[in-house]
Amino acid sequence: MALLEVNDLHIGLQTQRGPAEAVRGIGFSLERGETLGIVGESGCGKSITVQSLMGLLPASAKVSGSIRFDGQELVGASERTLCGIRGNRIGMIFQEPMTALNPVHTIARQVGEPLRLHRGLSQADARKEVLALLDRVGIPDAASRLDAYPHQFSGGQRQRIGIAMALACGPDLLIADEPTTALDVTIQKQILELIRSLVAERGMALILISHDLGVIAHTVSKMLVMYGGSVVESGPTAAVFAARAHPYTQGLFAARPVLGAPRGGRLATIRGSVPELVDMPPGCPFAGRCSHTIDACVTTRPPATWLPHDHAVRCIRLDEIAAEGVAA
């Protein structure tokens, strides 16, 4: 049995312009020790998907479908059940190390909080455990810094502390939502290395959310590309990167400025802009912005087409696009 199995997940949100579907029937599964990346732009539903795993959605959100974590159904689970899982069996690393830590509590207290809460450790025992965690995530001279406050650490160190906090109870699943977006490039590499080695060492599963294709390519073994609340392409990272079958994935790749490219060239852009959730077409969410759109794209949800290597693409025009690619 997979550690995490998400099936036909729908999340409805109340927007100013009425109810809208932020996640439109996505599914994926994750084994222990596996790493999954979710890539997509703002509003594609990647963050809200992982928030639903943690039971962190706004109260007005309507969730249907199934999220099975280690055999337990999380959709519709009681707050009490979720509290037992959050921070205990599922740990989360947030994007902003500045705001994810509480400025008025010491590091020892914050990192130790899940230990005292879930494992019932005494203050002294929690402190010992915290010291070991901080050492592991690479806070120099951790023993003397236990009683320091978040503002006394740099951004990269704060993110390390956030990681220590997520790891405290030895979770089965670690979720990292854009963990390095707020950090410098050289620090980014160190933090990703740290996450990767911790995942390997503890046999956790990892879900990494990022808008950065480079980060995804270097960190995870399989990936989902999301757009408009749907998974448009999924599969092993190497296969998705090699094939780039969906027009949206292609657009995302082409829009990146590339180091070493000749100057004076223009970046390829994706026509138009992301429609509001309420205005998403009933069929393929990318219909209309995609240059291959035909009427059927707009009206019916494209089924998954399976390519070799367990690689799925939701596009009904794959053959035509491939033919064009060969011709061009």
Binding site: D184, Q188, G214, A242, F253, R256, V258, A261, L267, S273
Partner: protein, 276 residues
């Protein structure tokens, strides 16, 4: 570098710029601790060319932007725009001179006043420069918005009605309205999504060709700088450690810090041609 030896005056000439910040005293009779944000930075930007400044947070790159914009006073050194030392100009002359250099900020959410209409936001630099009638302000604002690909019907909307990319266009329209020769852009696309980032970068490129404006582009993203700039300075601990055209710099970096920056770039397979 291209500029120092040429006989014509460069658009922007930064000479030995130093900025130290005094920190609160730690002991009663001890010396005031100093943060040496910039330690002697010099570079030139020729008219119509663009300069990129790359470095990590704390390297001093935003301090350079603030000093070039005369939003802060240097400890020593000079910033000359077309031969005039901005930090020696009397305040009213500086105010008029601001026509020639404008700024685009990083955060398109924080840099636009939520209580003002787009027309007022975009026209504000004009109002600060001279007595101009409301009608003319609106007309110029409309032209400026058109240049960045927004509609004139957008003029009476408020910033919250726009997406991040559109807001950054509004910020660029505001910088363009005085028809500046230099636009200082501090991380102009780092808050934007990849596909929106591409649109804004293309726009900046178009405006450069159309109006001959130069950019001083501050960024941590080497690929963005590579895309838009003719020259690059790599800043590390308040000093320029390496300088040159991006294709040369990024292919054959000499300074270890530049190498570190390049090594940290996570290339996506099939996307990047850095080592091709």
């Amino acid at each position: 570098m291209s500029a120092a030896s040429s006989s014509t005056t460069p658009l922007l000439k930064v000479t030995d710029l130093v900025r130290h910040y005094a920190m609160p005293r730690e002991t009663l009779f001890g010396a005031v601790p100093l943060v040496k944000a910039l330690n002697g930075v010099s570079f030139c930007v020729e008219a119509g060319r663009s300069m990129g400044i790359v470095g990590e947070s704390g390297s001093g790159k935003s301090t350079i932007a603030r000093l070039v914009m005369a939003l802060d006073t240097p400890t020593s050194g000079s910033v000359e725009l077309e031969g005039r030392d901005l930090h020696k100009l009397p305040s009213d002359a500086l105010r008029t001179a601001r026509r020639d250099f404008q700024m685009v900020f990083q955060d398109p959410y924080g840099s636009l006043d939520p209580r003002q209409t787009v027309a007022r936001i975009v026209a504000e630099p004009l109002e600060a420069l001279a007595e101009i009638s409301r009608a003319e302000q609106r007309e110029r604002a409309g032209e400026s918005l058109a240049a960045v690909g927004l509609r004139s019907t957008d003029m009476d909307k408020y910033p919250h009605e726009f997406s991040g990319g559109q807001r950054q266009r509004i910020a660029i329209a505001r910088a363009l309205i005085t028809r500046p020769k230099l636009i200082v852009a501090d991380e102009p696309v780092s808050a934007l999504d990849v596909s929106v980032q591409a649109q804004v970068l293309n726009l900046m490129q178009d405006l450069q060709q159309q109006f001959g404006v130069s950019y001083l582009l501050i960024s941590h993203d080497l690929a963005v700088v590579n895309h838009l700039c003719d020259d690059v300075c790599v800043v590390f601990k308040g000093q320029i450690v390496e300088q040159g055209p991006p294709e040369q710099l990024f292919r054959a970096a000499e300074h270890p810090y530049t190498r570190t920056l390049l090594d940290a770039v996570m290339a996506a397979p099939g996307g990047d041609v850095l080592h091709a």
